[in-house]
């Protein structure tokens, strides 16, 4: 395995295509053995649906279960026994129309094309009783919040159930990515979720390079990882600033916000974009720094480390901050594993899941410690961010201690291999980003599946706010910090 993150590459002629029943049984068997579902998706092929499930056993490499399912006949849903499959089955049903028998709630994940009627078939749940009231927030929000409909079913101030309906930002990303030369898609991929530009670009570049038979070299990997860790630091700072602002903790809000500027300006100096746009391209990493700029970067990292130590201490030791966050929006490890959470939200519920921990590529020489917290409340999600940020800055300091310069690398990318499926992952700041690219017999892309961690984690938020105060929803929401556009595609 080359590169910094798990990547699976299969020549499809060599992979057996199981019929519906056998496919779901095989997936269930692997899940039963303790493997984790990474992604599952389908594609229409005549009257059939070609389904792919990617699983990750404890060893870390990716396993493919490929199926050819009759659309009308379908298969028995995996969701009732393996709830982590729920969003994948909903999405597959929405995108391919395959029959999934026994699925409890096949509500569309997003508004697909011109058929919003499917969404109308699944109205919001209702709760009845004298003391019950419902609160609808969105889909149009105040300010610059992206659209999403939240329906709270409350008993007084207590939330009994929250239903989140998304899809308003559906832009047809996956269809758009099938047009034109996939090797030129990086600028588009960077805009799938603007706050995760680098992680999405990396997952996409790694997949393209694998299809083109190009092995990532150490220098490219290191350059990309610098971008990814800067993105993580910047977004964790933004998240903490948001959390502090939401509880009215002025010092946290202003200081974390100020430091975020230092982090994104460092990216600006290295690649010309504060959000890391243009940093990654297939075959290359274009951030550049000479000795003088490396000194600037070192100074910025030192400043972040110095000032963060002060504000982190303020944040963690403030009684009122702790009072707001401790116990709010608690999610147990069992719940997190059940619904298949990834990233910060999973680790804050004690799930040891960080693709960087495999120690591949850029993380081999300078490993990053996986941060977990067993409690699963808003406080845990804030602490995990703080500690991950510290880890990323320590990693950056070690990398720049050795480096005297950061070279821009660009190697030619050849034609894509025909009849292949590549699934690549990248541990972005929010969690695991997955891109799956499949080429047809002529080497043309037939499917480009994009998966932002938000797709899986939104349901975690809905679970976390149950039996919480409705007034604590904003901080629960901010502690997950999920993307609408990354989910809606």
């Amino acid at each position: 395995m080359s590169g910094s993150f798990p990547l699976g590459s299969w020549t499809l002629a060599e992979v057996p295509e199981l019929p519906g029943g056998a496919w779901s049984e095989r997936v269930a068997a692997l899940l039963g053995e303790g493997a984790r579902i990474v992604t599952a998706f389908g594609r229409r092929d005549g009257g059939d649906v070609v389904a792919s499930a990617i699983l990750q056993p404890a060893s870390g490499e990716l396993v493919l279960v490929r199926g050819r399912i009759d659309r009308a006949l379908g298969y028995h849903a995996l969701t009732p026994t393996h709830p982590a499959m729920h969003v994948f089955e909903r999405e597959m049903h929405e995108q391919t129309g395959v029959r999934i028998a026994g699925h409890p709630w096949l509500k569309p994940v997003r508004f697909e094309g011109s058929a919003p009627s499917a969404m109308a078939a699944y109205p919001f749940f209702t709760l009845q009783g004298k003391e019950v009231h419902e609160v609808q927030v969105g889909p149009v929000h105040a300010g610059v919040i992206e659209p999403g409909a939240f329906r709270f079913m409350c008993l007084g101030e207590k939330v009994h159930h929250l239903e989140i309906q998304l899809g308003y930002q559906h832009r047809g990303v996956e269809a758009l990515l099938l047009r034109g030369d996939p090797r030129a898609h990086a600028p588009l991929v960077e805009t799938i979720a603007g706050d995760t530009s680098i992680a999405h670009a990396w997952a996409d570049c790694a997949a393209i390079e694998s299809l083109a038979g190009l092995d990532a070299d150490a220098s490219t990997d290191r350059g990309r990882a610098v971008g990814l860790e800067l993105e993580r630091v910047a977004m964790h700072l933004a998240g903490l600033a948001g959390l502090a602002t939401d509880i009215g903790f002025l010092q946290g809000g202003s200081t974390y916000g100020r430091l975020r500027t230092t982090a994104i300006n460092t990216s600006m100096r290295l690649c010309g974009s504060r959000f890391g746009r243009g940093w990654l391209r297939p075959g290359g990493s274009r951030a550049m720094a000479d000795a003088a700029l490396v000194d600037v970067v070192r100074a910025n990292i030192a400043l972040l480390i110095r000032d963060l130590a002060v504000i982190n201490d303020r944040f963690v030791s403030s009684v009122t901050v702790r009072h707001r966050f401790v116990g709010a929006g608690r999610l147990t490890s069992e719940q997190a594993l059940d619904v298949g959470l990834v990233g910060v939200a999973a680790r804050a519920s004690g799930v040891n899941l960080d693709q960087r921990s495999l120690g591949l590529g850029a993380y081999r020489e300078h490993p990053v410690e996986t941060v977990t917290d067993p409690t699963g409340d808003c406080w845990a999600r804030a602490l995990v961010r703080i500690r991950e940020m510290d880890g990323s800055l320590a990693w950056l300091r070690r990398v720049f201690a050795d480096a005297t310069e950061l070279a821009s690398v660009q190697r030619p990318v050849g034609a894509l291999a025909a009849g292949s499926l590549v699934v690549s992952t990248c541990e972005g700041w929010r969690g695991e980003v997955v891109h799956a690219l499949e080429t047809g017999p002529d080497g043309v892309l037939v499917q480009h599946k994009v998966q932002d961690p938000s797709l899986r984690n939104w349901f975690g938020l809905a679970l976390a706010v149950r039996e919480n105060e409705i007034s604590d929803f904003p901080i629960c929401n901010k502690s997950f910090d999920l993307s609408y556009c990354g989910h809606d595609l």
Partner: protein, 309 residues
């Protein structure tokens, strides 16, 4: 009260909301390492709102647009009974503090009815929270003011609040009242840690969510009315802390009151800069501190009365 002092009182009353909010915001900005908005920013905001045309939803009835002006009128009249400049107020009569408390109560009722009139789930929640908090703070405030009245033998705000010498029991009575009035200020003016005046989160707000649907001059009346209550509440605290009594020249009392007023505004800004907002379900417990202050004041006054006989 002589005419010049009455005029001074009125000028101070109507200018103070803008200045007090300005000082609080400037204090918060300094704590955050920012330069902060101009002291007169509230004035500019109000002037901008007054130029706008209000928008009314089809759900609302006249209650909705009357509410802001009831709030504004009650707040303005309540400012006439409070000794803003230390000694005496333009409107002063026996038990005027009861009149004061129910003027604020009437303003709050108008605010809540206006919010409920929109039919919005958010504003309903805000009203419910406002009513809950008021239930906790009102008895404590009456306990305190009643105790203060009986301990000082005064029946008007001006008499009750003026300084009566250093007497240990009296210090405890006044300290209890300071606690209760500080919490009253935080509840009535929607300040931290009870409510966050700057938050944009509809689900967490109390006061701000109740004025969500108001716009233009109506919103200006709401904002100015709320700022008036904040300024008057701060002035009450300043008078209570004022160490200059009947023996001092009138201008000294007034100057000390204004100085303490600014100090109270700075203190409010500092509290907001260093504390996070309390969790909503913890606020009633926090407000019990006001009741505790009241009980303390009562005990001290009983002890003092016993000592006197």
């Amino acid at each position: 009260m002589t005419l010049p002092w009455t005029l001074a009182h009125l000028v101070v009353l109507f200018a103070s909301p803008i200045l007090v909010v300005g000082i609080i915001n400037r204090t918060k900005a300094r704590w955050a390492g920012r330069r902060g908005p101009p002291i007169l920013q509230t004035y500019f905001d109000l002037a901008r709102l007054l130029r706008k045309r209000p928008v009314y939803s089809a759900t609302t009835t006249p209650v909705f647009w009357v509410a802001p002006y009831v709030l504004l009128a009650t707040a303005a009249v309540s400012g006439l009974v409070v000794p803003l400049l230390g000694r005496g107020a333009p409107l002063s009569f026996r038990f005027d503090f009861v009149f004061f408390a129910y003027l604020w109560g009437l303003g709050r009722l108008a605010l809540m009815l206006g919010a409920l009139d929109t039919g919005s789930a958010f504003e309903g929640m805000g009203s419910s929270r406002e009513a809950t908090f008021a239930t906790f703070i009102e008895p404590a405030v009456f306990l305190c003011l009643g105790t203060l009245a009986s301990a000082t033998g005064g029946a008007t705000f001006a008499q009750m609040l003026s300084f009566h010498g250093v007497d240990p029991a009296m210090v405890v009575v006044r300290a209890g009242c300071v606690v209760a009035l500080t919490l009253l200020l935080q509840v009535e003016s929607a300040r931290m840690p009870v409510d966050d005046p700057t938050t944009h989160l509809e689900l967490t707000k109390v006061h701000e969510v109740m004025i969500l649907d108001h716009s233009g001059p109506d919103l200006a009346a709401m904002e100015y009315g709320a700022a008036l209550k904040l300024a008057i509440g701060s002035a009450l605290l300043a008078s209570l802390l004022n160490p200059f009594g009947a023996q001092s020249p009138r201008w000294v009392v007034a100057a000390a009151n204004v100085g303490l007023w600014v100090a109270v505004a700075v203190a409010v800004g500092t509290i907001e800069s260093t504390l996070a907002r309390l969790r909503l379900n913890a606020i009633p417990r926090y407000l019990l501190a006001a009741l505790f202050g009241g009980v303390l004041a009562l005990l001290a006054s009983v002890w003092r009365a016993g000592g006197a006989t």
